[in-house]
């Protein structure tokens, strides 16, 4: 059996905002094709960690490797090329409101990947089809529901052929009935072998679809394991407390 390839590795990652140390030493590995779920209370640094992985936030110290390449010390002028390998999906979708859905998915393909317009359009339609929204290619973002917008945002990231996908609370801004459509797309991605790191409060989805669950608390990875281990047999007191709060529906009050 061949050793699985490590797609994303975080080693000794620290991040401070001024005096406040948000990440206090994070170590995490994501293998190729793995879906790793990050859970934890608000303010535990989950999103910050994710945003360090494409350097939307600059780490204070530590290393991050994408497919073996250390991305934490590459110069600023090479950041754009690195980011093509790392797709990111935001809580707030962040579609470009002045462009059609198709143009949203085409823009970075043409401007950053330097694909021809025809090639970019074909790829965009293929990706929109994958998220079930090919028929909305001509629509403007404001005409779509939140769930549809988020699926377009996923298509926009996928169209660049990333090696890793980062999801920053992709369903937190959605009405409950729209969450399922986004999770379905994410499940489909997993079946296609996409490597994914997901920050989310969708515990049920984590149980069903995650290969591994990471519990973050106060800037550390406090516990990690399979969904069965994390949800079925939590070891630390903090994880137990967190899980009981979440199951009582208090997570909304805590969500940031």
């Amino acid at each position: 059996m061949t050793k699985p390839r490590t797609m994303l590795e975080i080693a000794g990652l620290e991040k401070s905002f001024g005096e406040v140390q948000v990440l206090k030493s994070i170590d995490l590995k994501v293998q190729e094709g793995e879906l790793v779920f990050v859970i934890g209370p608000s303010g535990s640094g989950k999103s910050t960690m994710l945003r360090c992985c494409n350097r939307l936030e600059e780490p204070t110290s530590g290393s991050i490797f994408i497919d073996g390449q250390r991305i934490t010390d590459i110069p600023h002028r090479d950041l754009d090329r690195m980011r093509l390998k790392v797709g990111m999906v935001f809580q707030g979708f962040n579609l470009y409101p002045q462009m059609s859905v198709l143009k949203n998915v085409m823009l970075a393909q043409v401007k950053a990947l330097k694909r021809s317009k025809a090639e970019a359009e074909a790829r965009a339609l293929e990706m929109l089809d994958q998220v079930g929204l090919k028929h909305k290619a001509g629509a403007m973002p404001a005409e779509l529901s939140g769930g549809q917008q988020q699926r377009v945002a996923i298509a926009r990231a996928l169209a660049l052929d990333p090696q890793v996908m980062l999801f920053d609370e992709p369903t937190s801004a959605l009405d409950p009935e729209l969450v399922g459509s986004v999770l379905k797309v994410m499940k489909g991605l997993r079946e296609k072998g996409m490597t994914m790191l997901v920050v989310s409060h969708e515990m049920q989805f984590a149980r069903e679809a995650a290969d591994r669950v990471v519990f973050m608390d106060q800037g550390y990875v406090a516990e990690q394991g399979t969904p069965e281990e994390i949800f079925g047999a939590p070891k630390s007191e903090r994880l137990k407390t967190f899980l009981s709060r979440v199951s009582h529906g208090d997570v909304e009050a805590e969500a940031d």
């Binding site: 090329r81 980011r83 093509l84 990111m88 935001f90 409101p97 002045q98 823009l107 950053a112 404001a142």
Partner: protein, 222 residues
């Protein structure tokens, strides 16, 4: 009858109509040149300000504040009379064009910049996260949104600034007001001034209508 005779004297209208039509051309040309130059310079300054270079931004802010604070007539007189003392003879047309362009550049820089600061950080992040450079993100994603948000105040400012072409009458530019006011002196009739008012309406009412159309055309839901 006295009223019509004063403000709508047929003979006076016939005498001065050709001059006034020509003057309308001058006003229109001056206005168009000012609008293009002023908006382009304002947009360029606002984009430059995004780069966040402290010294550059300091000068942009000082420029915008001074140009918005000074009465344009003061600048016009300084350039027209002051520069000729330095041996630099600028035509009246050039002086009006430069001053009004600078004023419009200052106001539109502030309008575009205000628009840019109102664009959510997520738009920048979405662009950067998909591998676009800061300049590409600005050019393709955030500036177009900022510009659309700026259209209503920009339209107001464009109309206000182009109306100031009438200041050309002070330094002998043959635009609408100066031509009609000298016609008024020569003819002793107020009719040329009526003609001037109508000429301004002919130019600016379509401009106002066009501006409503632009505001509707580039409005998008966010």
């Amino acid at each position: 009858m006295r009223f019509l005779e004063t403000f709508f004297n047929g003979q006076v209208i016939l005498n001065y109509l050709p001059d006034l039509v020509h003057a309308m051309g001058v006003t229109l040309g001056l206005a168009a040149a000012t609008i293009v130059t002023g908006i382009l310079c304002g947009a360029a300054l606002a984009c430059l300000r995004v780069a966040g270079l402290k010294v550059v931004n300091f000068f942009i802010i000082v420029f915008a504040d001074i140009m918005r604070a000074l009465p344009p007539l003061v600048l016009i007189m300084i350039l027209f009379f002051g520069m000729s003392s330095l041996g630099l003879n600028l035509s009246g047309w050039t002086v009006i064009y430069i001053v009004l362009s600078l004023v419009l550049a200052a106001f539109s820089e502030e309008i575009f910049w205000g628009g840019l600061t109102s664009i959510p950080a997520g738009q920048w992040e979405a662009g950067r996260a998909t591998g676009l450079s800061r300049a590409q993100t600005l050019f393709h994603i955030t500036f177009p949104q900022a510009a659309r948000r700026g259209i209503p105040p920009l339209v107001n400012r464009v109309l206000a600034t182009t109306k100031l072409t009438a200041l050309g009458s002070v330094i002998g530019v043959k635009e609408i007001l100066s031509v009609s006011s000298s016609a008024q002196s020569f003819s002793g009739s107020a009719t040329p001034l009526t003609m001037a008012a109508i000429a301004y309406l002919i130019i600016f009412i379509p401009a106002v209508i066009l501006s409503h159309w632009i505001e509707r055309r580039y409005h998008f839901a966010t």
